[in-house]
């Protein structure tokens, strides 16, 4: 990738350049961890564990990126996730419902939030931050109304689904007892990867995808080009809502419990991942693959911090902050350098 990088640089779009930076940094970080920390990181399962724990965050971040590409933001996704977990948990555990219906519940809740927030943002032109702030409070409040106590779901069909493991062939490892342990991913990871690929294609090759970038880049010119700006923004929030629904269920499938404190700060992690992945808060720039690697980078750094034996609670926060700063600085430096180059 480094070969001929300089000469090609001018031909690469902003989006792809930022994406390249993210990916390179992720691989450097991961290989560094393998070299210096060894042990856990040397097993493929380490990477799969990161995926298992972050499948939901990947999905939420994808939704976040789409909204951010149109220049908006949605900080309600964490609350929606908590609400979905709680509703599904109560439905499965206390009402003895079926798993299929709980998926439907999750999707409907996500869809509902997407519809209302999208309408308010696009057609009533209220600031997306304010709309989703209200959405966040509403979702958190509703979660507590549904049930205040955290509890684990004991529904058999659900627990079976939760414990389903998809074995990744050839990636297992031998533990110290000499037993071969298969490497595995959870169902959520497959869902997340499918969504990443699907959205990547949508953003890259469909009219809708191009509209999203156009609206975020400059909504005035987008309007003049005959793009329905309002509708595009509405769809972005709608998509984000639906993805929050899917992500919420994947999260629920991973943790298997309902709690008002679930997914606290997930929206901020999603924003951070999107930014690390090269999505710009100002809109018009971003890439789903970047977001995917943004999530991986974010949790890899957390794993590195904890395996290095540092007290996790505050070290994690500090390293994530440092990483965000690093990426923002790299982004702005690179963009500034390119602008200079263009002027010449």
């Amino acid at each position: 990738m480094s070969k001929g990088f300089g000469s090609k640089m001018k031909n690469i779009s902003d989006t792809n350049l930022l994406l390249a930076i993210t990916i390179v940094v992720f691989f450097l970080m991961y290989i560094g961890a393998m070299l210096f920390l060894g042990e856990g990181f040397l097993k493929p399962q380490a990477l799969f564990n990161i995926l298992n724990a972050n499948a939901a965050l990947i999905i939420l971040s994808c939704g976040m990126s789409i909204v951010m590409i149109t220049g908006g933001i949605d900080i309600s996704v964490g609350g929606v996730t908590a609400l979905i977990s709680m509703c599904c948990a109560v439905y499965l555990d206390k009402a003895g419902g079926s798993v299929a219906v709980s998926v439907l519940i999750a999707l409907l809740i996500g869809l509902g939030f997407g519809l209302v927030q999208g309408f308010l943002v696009a057609y009533l032109e209220i600031q997306p931050f304010i709309v989703s702030l209200a959405g966040m409070f509403f979702a958190r409040g509703m979660t507590t109304i549904v049930n205040t106590e955290p509890f684990n779901v004991a529904n058999e069909a659900f627990v079976a689904l939760k414990n389903t493991r998809i074995i990744v062939p050839g990636m297992g490892s031998v533990n110290r007892l000499g037993n071969y342990v298969d490497a595995y991913v959870e169902i959520g990871v497959i869902v997340a990867l499918l969504i990443v690929v699907l959205l990547f294609c949508v953003l890259k090759w469909t009219k809708l995808g191009r509209n999203l970038y156009a609206v975020g880049g400059n909504s005035q010119s987008a309007l003049m080009l005959g793009i329905n700006v309002k509708r595009t923004k509405f769809i972005a929030h709608l998509l984000c809502g639906i993805l929050a629904g899917v992500g919420g269920f994947v999260y629920f499938l991973h943790v298997g419990s309902g709690s008002p404190s679930h997914a606290s700060g997930a929206e901020m992690n999603a924003i951070a991942s999107s930014i690390i992945g090269g999505t710009m808060l100002t809109g018009g720039v971003g890439n789903i693959i970047g977001t995917f690697f943004g999530v991986l980078s974010l949790s890899t750094i957390q794993n590195i911090v904890s395996s290095a034996g540092l007290d996790q609670a505050w070290w994690t926060g500090i390293t994530v902050a440092a990483m965000l700063c690093l990426f923002l600085v790299i982004q702005s430096v690179v963009m500034a350098a390119r602008k200079k180059g263009n002027v010449k």
Binding site: M1, A53, N152, L177, V255, G309
Partner: protein, 347 residues
């Protein structure tokens, strides 16, 4: 763009291949001979034989928990021959599960878990067992289908704390010559159905049933908090004019109760109208005792580290360990040298 996608794909494959390489080498070498074992022996001889311990702590929600964390951290130091990986779960089970899986992957020698809730541990404990890593629980217990999934549990005996409180009161009343007098008691209970509440209430009740002259006026939930404790105590004082003893199931509620008693124009402590018994015995409570406001305080010992370390040392030598290990606990009353006790207190 296509090139980029291919590039990412190649990099990902390389990463996975590289990482599986590391394990594949072990794979081929292990059955081949004793090379690896000898290497390990050398490492041991060089002194690089730390016992790696992974701790998944609930969080830092109370002074007690912080003291417990401190105790564990100061026990599992490199000077004592341990290498510690500490994970703060910030009150979330999912974080604890993730931490446990990371520990298993890193092949730590022991996992110490302070479980935030009792359920939902079966799968991950099974994984630890399959990996041959003993799990030692501290403080709280777990509800699992198979008890052999964890090796041992270390924690407080709340029932015996309650019994201690009852016995202390019995002796104290006899000393005062009130052994057969009618004694009116009220209890500020902790959050109902919590382990601490159940144990302390039952323990005290088991002593009380031997004394016909002890009259329990009322038991009420004070939720382990100062404000709720004060509220409930105010209610008690309104409805009963002659309260002799207050049993408060933790220090925070005791502080609230003392405030309520003083507000009502009464006094408490050894010199006062009302006998106050408290549990936990934090530093602040001992200070209140030194001021003469609490009669006795029954310890809930957060100093779990040394006991856990003893268990690990036993396991290292291949000895059997007791499944349930209660931590040694004491009590405090003003006949002791409170000044120096307060200074020694870790929380």
């Amino acid at each position: 763009m296509k090139k980029m996608v291919v590039g990412i794909g190649v990099l990902l494959c390389l990463l996975l291949w590289f990482s599986s390489c590391g394990t594949r080498i072990d794979d081929t070498e292990q059955p081949a001979g004793t090379d690896l074992l000898e290497e390990e022996k050398e490492l041991v001889e060089e002194g690089d034989n730390y016992i790696v311990v992974g701790i998944s702590q609930v969080g830092s929600e109370s002074d007690w928990r912080i003291a417990c964390t401190e105790s564990l951290k100061s026990t599992f130091t490199q000077e004592n021959g341990y290498y510690l990986i500490f994970e703060d779960a910030q009150q979330k089970q999912e974080n604890q599960l993730k931490a446990m899986r990371d520990f298993i992957l890193q092949e730590v020698d022991y996992i110490i878990l302070d479980p935030i809730v009792e359920t939902g541990w079966d799968a991950v404990l099974k994984e630890a067992q399959d990996a041959g890593i003993p799990v030692i629980l501290v403080d709280r217990q777990v509800e699992v289908s198979d008890e052999s999934l964890y090796t041992a549990w270390v924690g407080s005996d709340f029932h015996s704390q309650g019994v201690k409180a009852g016995t202390w009161l019995q002796n104290y009343l006899e000393e005062q010559g009130r052994g057969s007098e009618k004694i009116n008691i009220v209890t500020l209970q902790g959050t109902l159905n919590s382990t601490a509440q159940l144990g302390r209430t039952d323990g005290f009740a088991s002593v009380m049933k031997n004394h016909d002259n002890w009259n329990m006026l009322e038991r009420k939930d004070g939720d382990f908090t100062q404000t709720k404790g004060q509220e409930v105590m105010e209610e008690f004082l309104d409805s009963y004019s002659d309260i002799d003893v207050v049993v408060s199931e933790n220090d925070n509620m005791t502080f609230g109760a003392i405030e309520a008693i003083e507000k009502a124009g009464k006094t408490c402590g050894p010199e006062g109208d009302i006998i106050v018994l408290s549990f936990d015995a934090g530093r602040a409570a001992l200070e209140a005792m030194a001021e003469g406001k609490i009669n006795a305080d029954f310890e809930c010992n957060p100093n779990l580290g040394p006991e856990v370390s003893r268990i690990i040392q036993k396991l290292e030598r291949g000895c059997e360990v007791d499944k349930f290990q209660y931590i040694e606990e004491t009590y405090f009353d003003p006949t002791m040298d409170l000044e120096s006790l307060i200074e020694e207190r870790t929380y």
